[in-house]
Subunit: 272 residues, 2 copies
């Protein structure tokens, strides 16, 4: 059974259009490549209620995995852990293991500066204050640990919003978990680029190719205009067996290319 | 009262990480600049149920505006109007005004090619098949019209996913509507860039500045690492009066800059 995932991005900067949501795309692409279906991406503000509501809604849909990004830092507006605690009706408490991780980071930073003592201020302790029954996930390059919460149906993992830290934790901890869950399942894709065919003329051809190739999803992406058409047609499939997947994609691509040529399309087939 | 908005992006390409969601950022930035608060961005697949569910959830939260983008074209996987119809429990019917718009487009395209007749095929008629009580919105540069549905609490507008078409309809139809709703309200912002202050040391200063300046929202964006800190601190406010807003931002920025210098921060203040 295909594993699925939801992504929740926390941050006012995404809702005011200050920041382009490259994190969501990156995470979606990684998960998809491993054969995990990403069903929904939700962006909410740095407000406990908003975060808690989004998490509750996501957990109700019972995805195998839910990843959040953003809101784990030391400042007052880093509220993701409060949101998770509220959504799960759990208390926030200082987690010994997380506190050890945070403390070691500041000891390293202090040594770099030649300072002797490390002050574990409230904002620093905040990064080690987790919902009960949650576990910290080591952050190889930053200070705030990720936070993993296992529920009956869903593994919820909170990642930082700083892209380099999110990616480092993803590679080290999330990716192996996803790979284990999805087994040999992976995502395969191929694009055909075609000029000279209007999207509206393409519609019936695509319908037929999808009927004939039930495992292949075909989607047209218009790149020009309806009257000066340049189109990418994207074929994809998620499968356990690479050889079979490639074969299915190739069969669908060949059928579609033939049909497109039949209505005057100029084609460039692009592997992958 | 501040007007608010939700954005729903429809498209598998966003969920597989093939496409970076620049549409959501662009729309959020435009709306924010006009003083509209964007509360949530939701990305869902090209599936009627997924779209309908997201729209129902959004409408329950009663935003003043809900914008969708994607899924208005002629192919089978353009399902946004089906999703809206299902969410509102309305029938889909061919809309005379929309059909006229679509027909005129294809007549123009035919003339460009020297063709005499235009065939209104099923995929073309599909773009003029709207939920009952919805109205088409002219698409100045593409074929599929936008679709506006007025409800008691919310104006729902469906826009195409092709960025140039989405932007053209937004400028021509959505922006004037938003401006009228928000009046003179606008969004004002200023950034301070500071080196040499850890985010965890900043936290308490930011708390104090926000207490002293209740209309100004302050958010730190770490750009370096906790131990080699380079930080953008973003100050923003939404207000009806430009002069007052600038004054409030400047007061908060001055207070924050002073406090940052007090703990060894090296500052560049950036107007904007």
């Amino acid at each position: 059974m295909t594993q699925n995932m939801e992504i929740i991005c926390v941050g006012n900067e995404l809702l005011i259009g200050k920041t382009l949501n490259t994190n969501a795309q990156w995470m979606a692409k990684q998960a998809t490549a491993m054969g995990i279906a990403v069903n929904r991406i939700t962006v909410v503000a740095d407000e406990v209620n908003e975060i808690a509501t989004a998490i509750r809604e996501t957990l109700k849909r019972k995805p195998h995995f839910a990843l959040t990004t953003g809101g784990l830092g030391p400042t007052f507006d880093d509220k993701t852990l409060q949101g998770i605690a509220e959504a799960l009706d759990r208390k926030l408490t200082v987690n010994t293991e997380a506190l050890k991780m945070v403390k070691e980071k500041y000891e390293t930073y202090a040594k770099e500066k030649g300072a002797e003592t490390v002050e574990l201020t409230q904002p620093r302790i905040k990064m080690a204050t987790l919902p009960e029954k949650s576990k910290p996930v080591s952050n190889p390059i930053g200070t705030a640990p990720g936070v993993r919460t296992d529920m009956e149906q869903t593994v919820l993992i909170a990642l930082p919003g700083v892209p380099s830290e999110m990616k480092a934790i993803f590679h080290e901890t999330v990716a192996p978990l996803l790979r284990q869950a999805s087994g040999t399942t992976a995502f395969y894709e191929k694009s055909i680029y075609v000029d000279n065919v209007m999207e509206s003329s393409l519609a019936l051809l695509v319908d037929k190719v999808m009927m004939d190739n039930p495992d292949v999803y075909v989607k047209s992406h218009p790149k020009g205009r309806e009257n000066k058409p340049h189109m990418e047609i994207h074929l994809s499939t998620t499968a356990e067996d690479a050889g079979g997947a490639e074969e299915k994609l190739q069969k669908a691509a060949t059928e579609l290319s033939g049909a497109l040529r039949g209505i005057g399309g100029k084609i460039v087939v692009c592997g992958d």
